[in-house]
Symmetry: C2
Subunit: 288 residues, 2 copies
């Protein structure tokens, strides 16, 4: 894939990593970073993540062939719809939001026909934030979910798939609704599980934690405002998965309460089986 | 610390790591590994974790100045009491069991007066098992809980503290009951949290997990039989901590269900505050 101009809106960890990954791989002649914070743009420029900086989304969008929105999930739809009228015909728009159904539906309802939008979500990231943590290999061997709908143009979908593949990622296509159902469990629920566990730790027991507790609670270090927004934007699916999790914990409670060793072993073995099948994060793999 | 003969009963990950750590640091003239599995002893010998192998606990105990029991928590008390009559006067006995109250009380009731026992628990380990994962630095900069009681002899306590410090660990003294209350949350509960989450993952969503899910569920890979025994041996405290965790998850459920952004943010922030204060596992730190 080769673009003339790539615009990245929101130059944080993900946006900055897209910038440096695209630069290193020669995917675009020009990469414009767009952000509302001048200091973020300054940081991204001096780190070599982007070629140009802009505080003006409309102006940057008017010059781009591809615009990638890396902003919080509650702002993406409005920003895409705000930028679209300024785009040249054929401009491709995509995003990296952690939830997809509301964003995609909100955009598709009102998008002008001279541009195309396809939703995306790289399953990569970190509890760390900001362009200073950008990583040119953040997407290598990682899954990116791309969420076409019945309205998605084939050529636009093929270009977005090609864009992510050119950054080293492996693409899975699924509907926005399927995405949100699955991610409610695989990403959003762990962002409740971890802070719920960390939050009940009394101060005087902190020195008695080891890396088991620390790994299980790693996601508790994530940005609360960012995650409150993501959880709320996928509320029903997250509540459904949380109910399934509470039910499973209650099964553990019952087994332990009755000292039913067979029931307890069966529950532990079921967890181990699933865990052994998905594997552990490798040493060479970035954390998401 | 300098011993003539150290005996290690159960030469798995922890026992094997004690052996290699003690050898490298010159803590004992002779290290005898005791195990019921000849192949485990063979593996430990050829990896240089121990100097001698023995299938006979009584015989090894009769030659040792210090015997460290690294066997499952439901066997430690009986093994200590079985070995004690064979020990020479002044022999020191300790263990590494993940729960302490039952073990220590069971031993102190019946221990012959010519030997001394002090309970211990290194907060180090791994979901991996066996002597092939032994690590001479497993205890470096890690906390070891040592659990004296009113009956503990000062000289025995000082020797056990010195033993762990000489392997690089930092020692915390607390009562067996305090230990079990704290570890119910900091170690035992995460061994329910992780397999409960892993166990509700449908097979077709596995490819949509990233390292957030994988880290949160790391402990689900642990040995089910070993952990069923540990959980049962600290049942009341684990149930109490599980109740606190269920209650906290219900608070998350209520906040999200009512779309109460302030309540949701407060819960996420409380988790982040605790997490930021305990920190993350460092790159140079072994996992426990």
């Amino acid at each position: 894939m080769r673009l003339e101009t790539l615009a990245i809106v929101g130059v944080g960890l993900i946006g900055g990593s897209i910038g440096i990954a695209a630069r290193r791989r020669g995917i675009a002649d020009r990469i414009i970073g767009v952000d509302q914070h001048a200091d973020t743009l300054q940081l991204a420029s001096s780190a070599g993540l982007i070629d140009e900086s802009s505080l003006d989304l409309s102006q940057a969008a008017s010059r781009a062939n591809l615009v990638v929105f890396c902003t919080p999930v509650d702002r993406i739809a409005a920003q895409v719809l705000g930028a679209a009228p300024h785009c040249r015909p054929g401009t491709l728009l995509t995003d990296v939001g952690s939830t997809k159904a509301r964003i995609v539906a909100g955009i598709e309802e009102q998008l002008p026909p001279h541009v195309a939008f396809v939703g995306g979500h790289p399953l990569a990231g970190s509890e760390k934030q900001g362009p200073s943590h950008a990583n040119p290999d953040l997407f290598v061997n990682r899954v990116v979910a791309v969420t076409p709908t019945a309205r998605t143009k084939h050529i636009a979908l093929a270009q977005i798939v090609s864009f992510w593949q050119s950054l080293g990622a492996s693409v899975r296509q699924l509907s926005p609704e399927e995405h949100d159902d699955a991610l409610a469990l695989t990403s959003h629920l762990p962002h409740l599980v971890a802070p719920a566990l960390a939050g009940i730790l009394p101060q005087h027991w902190r020195e008695l934690t080891a890396s088991g507790f620390r790994d299980t609670t790693r996601l508790a270090a994530s940005n609360p405002a960012l995650w409150a927004t993501i959880l709320r934007s996928n509320r029903n699916a997250v509540l459904r998965e949380l109910d399934r999790y509470l039910n499973r914990l209650q099964q553990f409670h019952d087994a332990l309460g009755k000292d039913d060793v067979n029931a307890l072993l069966a529950l532990l073995k079921e967890g181990k089986k699933a865990k052994d099948e998905i594997g552990s994060p490798g040493h060479d793999e970035k954390r998401a």
